[in-house]
Symmetry: C2
Subunit: 383 residues, 2 copies
């Protein structure tokens, strides 16, 4: 199997697996237990928190461990909607379903949005204009899009929000572990999921500023400084820290990301003569992702044909599979529904090699030939 | 180390570890992805759901996988508070902090309670009376108490709630995997956490009835039939299913539970001459738990002394460690604060042997002698 669906989830890194097993065996005790085994688990949890914080450029007391980005986004949206005093929530039109749906549920009738360009990229000036005109209580603009990999000007948005004194939620799920990240002051809340960068499923982080008084994701045993109750998932956290360490080191290495971007771009060039278009045109994207408009057939047929040949690519966000109609991201880009139905997402990982990209291009050429021929032959009905 | 703090968390069972590793390696793909690897992960998730449902006596479509019982309790409390139309929530006085705190936050000013006996046991008739007099929108009575192991008449409570048509939340965290469990019709919601019965941390289940329309724990990608968004933690779920299978089989075996209850009772008998009392008297408890009122010194000194000798016991709920004042459970039992401060929780697991109980009794005898002698010697102030 050649796996090109890393934006849906990444395979577990060996160092994450080792960390999970070590913590499960050596530090299985409850970090809140008063005995020595509990104290050792607590110390290990503290070490993991310091490590994660350092890798994100945040302070340890700002890091809250969660079950993933969906939990973090739900908690932030719920908290701010209750504390907003009737003000609106401003979302980019390409946010992940967990941000969009949480905004719609908790800010019912108070969700505002603005336009993206034909690559799905928003402008920081548009956010700044909204901040001046109809001051929202919370802004959400993701760092990099999950369906297309398009990079958003999130650092400028953070700056504008910081200057205006408005809270900003940054969904950094696809950015973390792929490009360098230092959480700037304006990024009030940052959410991430370990399984997107080679950590285990069911664990993530949420950056909460010290000054976010009364912020609580879950109530109960008052773990995580009272901000997220529930027995701490130390093996998951330790594995996340290991995966973050490994991928952040790579992400900081410009030569590594440039090489991988080049393999992806060479792949795109090879597809051009087959009538394949890049949905985001020339807009800057994550080095690992490309959103392709395929010829001849709808995307699900491409997925099936490539899947049978051992190549795993996606129709779009796994979080929206099975939903009717084109994705809100492609709609925001102004892609006609007919093209949206032919859109494939291809997303690589750190372990994806140049040969994998070549092999995928070859498989696409084969499938293109098959589909083209099928399109030409008359359909024979078997009675 | 001899571990007697299973009510805080249990070590990971070897079969759970194996299931986690197998799922992480063989089924790492996102179950919502449209390719073959995604379909295989989806099939494995379905198999796990059927297995967990069968072990709990529920239907597969009633099982929602969560990050643990705290998430489940928070979601149920939030959902019903919003849908209650001003009616109250009725809680036993010995509920876990995740149920109590969620009730207090979401049902502000509308939380009612009732009395427990001196063992912390409630009466189903008291619940029935409340159902007749001031019909609540939701009732919460746990199956077995986390601090004392006392068994509640939860099946009768479920019956009374079912007859009255009132929703019932059963916190079965300490019961699951220790005693047989068949979810009766009246148990509207049941929450459990895998790590309490030898599964991994960060995963749990919530039983939601088919008719609970509009119930959503988290919004976003609409996983879990739209009732709990977020990428499914398949390795965690597979490991939970394996741990549940192993422990439920043991829990159904009356000879296994009886033998372990006897070891615990023999241990209690050995402590009697040392001036140790059982906080719950003769009330029926889980076979693994005993709440002890120790002589000579406050409980934290006992924990430390036993911990140094390699025995891990607890002062009470790990979810309340560090909080000031005596636990609400011991207060509800009418235990004087002075005795509450001397209370230890000892909780064994399936792998705890008769020899472990003997060794703990010996260690307690040693510590008792030390503490008694220290109590007799005058305190020498070093200037």
């Amino acid at each position: 199997m050649t796996y090109f669906d890393h934006n849906a989830t990444a395979p577990l890194l060996p160092q994450a697996e080792a960390a999970w097993l070590a913590a499960s065996r050596d530090h299985f005790a409850n970090p809140s237990s008063p005995h020595q085994a509990g104290a050792r688990a607590r110390a290990e949890l503290d070490r993991c928190r310091e490590r994660v914080a350092a890798l994100l450029g945040a302070a340890p007391e700002e890091i809250v461990f969660t079950s993933g980005a969906t939990e973090g986004a739900n908690a932030v949206m719920r908290h701010f909607a209750a504390a907003s005093g009737g003000a609106a929530c401003l979302l980019s039109p390409v946010e992940h379903p967990c941000v969009r749906a949480a905004a719609e549920v908790f800010w019912k009738g108070r969700v505002r949005s603005f336009e993206a360009d034909c690559a799905g990229r928003v402008k920081a000036e548009d956010v700044a204009e909204h901040l001046r005109e109809a001051r929202p209580a919370l802004v959400a603009v993701m760092a990099a899009n999950n369906e297309t990999g398009v990079l958003q000007p999130w650092e400028e948005v953070a700056e504008a929000c910081h200057a205006a004194g408005v809270a900003y939620l940054c969904d950094a799920v696809q950015w973390v572990g792929r490009l360098p990240l230092r959480v700037p002051a304006g990024c009030t809340f940052v959410v991430g999921s370990a399984h997107k960068f080679g950590g285990p499923k069911g664990v993530g982080f949420l950056r909460v500023p010290r000054e976010a008084e009364g912020f609580v994701a879950m109530v109960g045993g008052e773990q995580e400084g009272g901000r997220r109750s529930g027995t701490e998932n130390l093996p998951g956290v330790a594995a996340m820290a290991a995966a973050l360490d490994y991928t952040v080191t790579l992400a900081k290495n410009g030569a590594e990301t440039a090489a991988r971007g080049k393999w992806r771009n060479n792949f795109i060039e090879r597809l051009d003569p087959m009538g394949v278009k890049v949905a985001t045109g020339g807009a800057p994207t994550l080095w690992n992702t490309v959103s392709l408009i395929m010829p001849h057939a709808p995307n699900h047929r491409w997925v099936n044909q490539l899947s049978r040949r051992g190549f795993m690519v996606s129709t779009g966000s796994a979080c929206a599979t099975g939903r009717e109609g084109p994705s809100h991201v492609l709609s925001a880009m102004g892609l006609p529904p007919e093209e949206a139905r032919r859109t494939l997402r291809v997303s690589s990982g750190w372990a994806t090699g140049e040969d994998d990209w070549h092999a995928l291009a070859n498989a696409i050429a084969e499938v293109a030939a098959d589909l083209r021929n099928q399109g030409r032959s008359p359909v024979i009905e078997i009675p």
